[in-house]
């Protein structure tokens, strides 16, 4: 499983971080960092839900 992140679409709303804080973090500069681009399979539901919650469609789960 891989998280595909489109930085141009991201609006730094932080919905993903509130769902999966171990995988996503809005940094001090206000830009999103994907901490775990290839999260453990055990976290699939949480990561998919985080990606679905993105209001600008900047996140996708591949594989």
């Amino acid at each position: 499983m891989r998280v595909e992140f489109d930085a141009d679409r991201c609006a730094s709303v932080g919905m993903c971080e509130s769902v999966a804080p171990d995988v996503f973090e809005v940094g001090a500069d206000g830009y999103l960092v994907v901490l775990e681009p290839e999260p453990d399979e055990a976290h699939r539901a949480e990561v998919e839900s985080a990606c679905d919650s993105c209001p600008t469609g900047a996140l996708r789960v591949e594989g």
Partner: protein, 428 residues
């Protein structure tokens, strides 16, 4: 397509002062019928009383949970830049108080990004001690009294101290700012206005906020600290510093959104716990573990902001209705949060409700409540402090509710409890 001027108005009333002066339960009867029969309905302009706009022909009412989420997510179709309250307002006031909440991308994104990192869950972990200390201090201040106005002595102070700590408003300005901030949504509230002309009073409130903000900005430019005002004076957007007017406007937004929301949730929450002793007992059985879930239900129950408006960017379809460019589209959060399609028995307070897909912080769009994590932490903290130290606290009589279509306001609410000192002397 029917031209806007020829569209018939829905027979149900969402526009009168009487509707917004009735109780939440009475309004719910109207919302329930609309959700069932006509989920996207066209209504006459809301009674304003502030500013007559001859071009205002009405608004679409969005009352179902699913439709509210859709409007929120379609931020290209439904814009915020023309105002987010459903009345038309003088442009100076929109500029003064709505900050980036009434902006659209791309500028909205760039400005909001300046503040996002201050409100993340990680940042909340860092300031948790401050939040706890503020709750303790507030309960310290009332614990010996036995009977208080809960709104002014507890519920209003919790968000006031926390948001002012973050933004950088010193102690001496806090009460004034928190009071003035109420007029942003409370300009039709007689008990708040105390006879003043609404428009005059609203401009006065904006002027006071501006004065305090400019004074603080001068201090931060001379001597920056680690607060949000310092961040804003140093920030650049598109290679340019923010203007004073912009910072004043963001300050206004942070103060209004920071103060007038959690104040309502805290008050509605304590009222709900008094009214539902079985739920309170359940919560107290395992307070620490159950509180985060319970707080979500308290927030749903309170839904402190009842409406937000968008404006259609183009002709488009919404829930089977043809919306015309320029139409006002108003989302009714207090209706969506009681939608039986999403909530089993929404009329029941169920502190164990989980998942709880309430929309009190928004429908998951780009304007989603920036302070949602802060609000949750504050509520957990103050409810824990109250229930632990003043466990027999009860609301006495009926609260004094605000009128108006924006904040679900509790203006005053008497509570009674055994003073902490007496309880310490007489072990249970």
């Amino acid at each position: 397509m029917t031209a806007r001027a020829d569209r018939p108005y829905d027979p149900l009333d969402l526009s009168s002062l009487a509707f917004w002066s009735s109780t939440a339960a009475e309004r719910e009867v109207t919302f329930a019928e609309l959700r069932r029969e006509r989920p996207i309905s066209w209504h006459r302009p809301v009674d304003n009383g502030l500013f007559e706009d001859p071009n205002d022909q009405g608004f679409w009412a969005v009352v179902r949970h699913a439709d509210l989420v859709e409007v929120t997510r379609r931020h290209d179709d439904f814009l915020s830049g023309e105002g987010i309250v459903f009345e038309s307002m003088p442009q100076e006031l929109l500029d003064a108080g709505q900050g980036f909440i009434a902006m659209d991308p791309p500028r909205h994104t760039r400005v909001r990004r300046l503040l996002t990192s201050a409100f993340t869950p990680r940042q909340m972990n860092r300031i948790d001690d401050r939040i706890e200390a503020n709750s303790r201090r507030i309960v310290d201040g009332v614990a010996a009294k036995g009977e208080i106005d809960f709104v002014s002595e507890v519920a209003g102070l919790v968000p006031m101290h926390n948001i002012c700590d973050m933004v950088g408003v010193p102690e001496e300005h806090r009460r004034l700012i928190a009071h003035e901030a109420q007029f942003a949504g409370g300009w039709r509230d007689e008990s708040l206005l105390q006879g003043a002309d609404p428009l005059t009073r609203l401009f006065e409130a904006a002027g006071t906020m501006r004065e305090v903000c400019l004074e603080l900005l001068a201090q931060r430019r001379a001597e920056p600290t680690d607060d949000l005002l310092s961040a804003l004076v140093q920030a650049e957007v598109d290679g340019e510093r923010l203007t004073d007017d912009e910072i004043v406007s963001f300050f206004g937004l942070l103060m209004v959104a920071g103060n007038d929301t959690t104040r309502q949730s805290t008050s509605h929450g304590m009222k709900a716990l008094t009214d539902h002793p079985d739920q309170l007992a359940w919560l107290l059985e395992d307070l620490e573990a159950r509180l985060p879930v319970a707080v979500e239900e308290i927030v749903r129950w309170a839904t402190p902001i009842m409406t937000f408006r968008r404006t259609a960017a183009r002709d488009c379809e919404l829930g089977g209705q043809q919306v015309t460019a320029g139409d006002k589209v108003v989302m009714f959060y207090s209706s969506a949060d009681f939608d039986p399609e999403v909530f089993d028995h929404p009329e029941r307070l169920d502190l164990a409700r989980h998942p709880n897909k309430h929309l009190a912080f928004g429908g998951g769009g780009i304007h989603h409540c920036l302070g949602n994590q802060l609000a949750r932490r504050q509520l957990v903290s103050v409810v824990r402090e109250l229930l632990t130290r003043l466990p027999d606290l009860q609301v006495v009589g009926e609260p004094e509710y605000g009128t108006g279509n924006f904040f679900h306001a509790v203006n005053a609410m008497t509570v009674r409890f055994t003073p902490e000192t007496e309880r310490a002397r007489v072990p249970a």
